[in-house]
């Protein structure tokens, strides 16, 4: 099943030869407002779906709303520093992937309890306040007593205090998209622990910072408010607000024939060079304690790689030639714990060292890797 028109009995199955892509399908539909729901919960597939729609669908005379949810993931803004924004070692242990989106803004945590909404329009019709009004009106239509309102930072606050939605946007050649989150029943303990960096104090960077806020789930104030109910209300309000009468269409973003090129877009979003390599230049200045010895570490990281690495280590603990070998091994490498560990292990095999020195180098490496 690739495409389902939810409020009609029409179904396009895999056995039907598709002559058109999703884009031409929309053109043929002739509707000026279309609501889409993504059939998958993979963050990279969904981000690729956004990019594909933005690049390939004619949005000059048509607007679209895409509703999507993901399995747990952390998503950083285009110009952010993941080492500054989230706890990467914790995410690795929990198996939570990191994604970098193409829009600006801050860092968010997604899981099934979070609804994502992307409003696609022409650049002329780009209007974030109007889009947020769709959400607040939908929520108030469901529960008139709910106190929700958008701020001038384009957040949505519950009871004037708790953030339940954050916004980001991208402006392209002729079209734009504005996407935002909505906290319905997110795991807040995971959210707060992954969004707290373990190394932000040692990083000096000009990357765009997030603005941390206290958060709440809608489910906390009303246990009957589940994600499906909210999504349907938003879809309905979107049609009301903009005067559309289109159907809600479920789309599978892994369907390459329907969206040529989308598979590569999802692959590109998963590349180390995009996720980590696009981090603006930053420096790390840290005092590590290894074996009761204080090691001063100074690194410059450009494009996610160590551009320069210097260490101050007491000469009696580790001779300076060893230290120089160690820092040279790291120069030019990816700022990545696996890569650093592999390089240091390789260098200890090539130089002849006593077991004692090898142990020290091993522990030094563990210390350095702790800031990656």
């Amino acid at each position: 099943m690739i495409l389902r028109l939810l409020n009609r009995a029409c179904v396009l199955s895999g056995s039907v030869r598709l002559k058109s892509t999703l884009s031409t399908f929309f053109d043929e539909m002739g509707k000026s407002g279309i609501i889409l729901k993504s059939a998958t919960t993979g963050i990279f597939e969904n981000l690729a779906l956004e990019d594909w729609i933005h690049d390939h669908v004619d949005l000059q005379n048509r607007s679209m709303l895409l509703l999507w949810r993901n399995s747990p993931a952390v998503v950083i803004g285009r110009h952010q520093n993941p080492w500054q924004e989230c706890n990467l070692p914790l995410m690795r242990r929990l198996g939570i992937p990191l994604a970098r989106r193409r829009s600006g803004g801050g860092t968010v945590f997604h899981d099934f309890g979070n609804i994502n909404m992307t409003f696609f329009t022409s650049k002329k019709k780009y209007d974030r306040h109007r889009n947020l009004k769709v959400i607040t009106s939908a929520l108030k239509a469901l529960r008139p007593d709910l106190e929700v309102a958008a701020t001038d930072r384009f957040d949505i606050l519950l009871n004037s205090h708790y953030k339940i939605s954050g916004t980001a946007a991208k402006l392209g050649r002729t079209s734009a998209y504005h996407h935002c989150t909505l906290l319905c029943s997110v795991d807040r303990s995971v959210l707060s622990s992954v969004l707290k960096s373990n190394t932000s104090e040692v990083i000096k960077s000009n990357a765009t910072p997030s603005v941390p806020s206290p958060v709440r789930n809608l489910l906390d104030v009303d246990p009957t408010l589940d994600s499906d109910t909210i999504m349907n209300a938003i879809a309905s309000q979107y049609s009301n607000e903009f005067g559309f009468d289109g159907p809600v269409i479920t789309v599978d973003p892994t369907h390459e024939a329907l969206m040529p090129g989308i598979h590569k877009m999802a692959q590109d979003l998963q590349m180390w060079e995009w996720i980590y390599g696009r981090t603006p230049k930053f420096s790390v200045c840290s005092s590590l304690v290894v074996d009761d010895v204080t090691v001063k570490l100074d690194m410059d990281i450009k494009n996610g790689a160590v551009e320069q690495c210097a260490m101050e280590i007491p000469e009696d603990w580790l001779p300076s030639e060893m230290v120089n070998e160690f820092t040279s091994a790291l120069n030019g490498s990816k700022y990545c714990p696996n890569e650093a560990a592999v390089l240091v292990a390789a260098f200890t095999r090539t130089v002849s060292v006593t077991a004692d020195v090898a142990e020290k180098i091993h522990r030094l490496c563990a210390g350095v890797v702790s800031v990656m």
Binding site: H79, R102, G104, L171, R173, H178, R278, P280
Partner: protein
Amino acid sequence: MAMCTILRCASVSLTSSLPRLSNRNALTPARLLSRTCYKRALSTTTRFCAALKFTDKHEWVRVDSGVATVGISNFAQEALGDVVYCGLPEVGTKLSQSDEFGALESVKAASELYSPLTGEVTDVNDALADNPGLVNKSCYKDGWLMKMTVSIPEELDGLMDEAAYERYIKSIED
């Protein structure tokens, strides 16, 4: 902000030879240069002319001795709002005309930047790393974004000159 709009509208109705003294991003020196250039056009190719050319994506290009400096126009920086980050390409990046070469992040959104010409990036404005607001404060001078070679000089002929760009802005604003 409203004051700027009024002044801009007023100035557009004047003949283009009158300098807009009230606009802090005054283009008078460039305009004088372009008039001088025009007189010499018979003996000098346009590639060496330092007049500003504009794209419909609100980027400007100024070519000097074969090197093009690229930035965004006053219209663009006003529309963007305060720029908080400039995502620029690496030196050596090869670009075709209309290729995405970076993005400017402002409170409004992350706005893609499109290359006005085909060429190779030779320099990037490092001052923007610590001071992205230069793009707003001095979009034609200190807020330049990148410099590139001009592989296809004919592409410059397809860009708008200042007068045409002014007319273009007026048409979108209506």
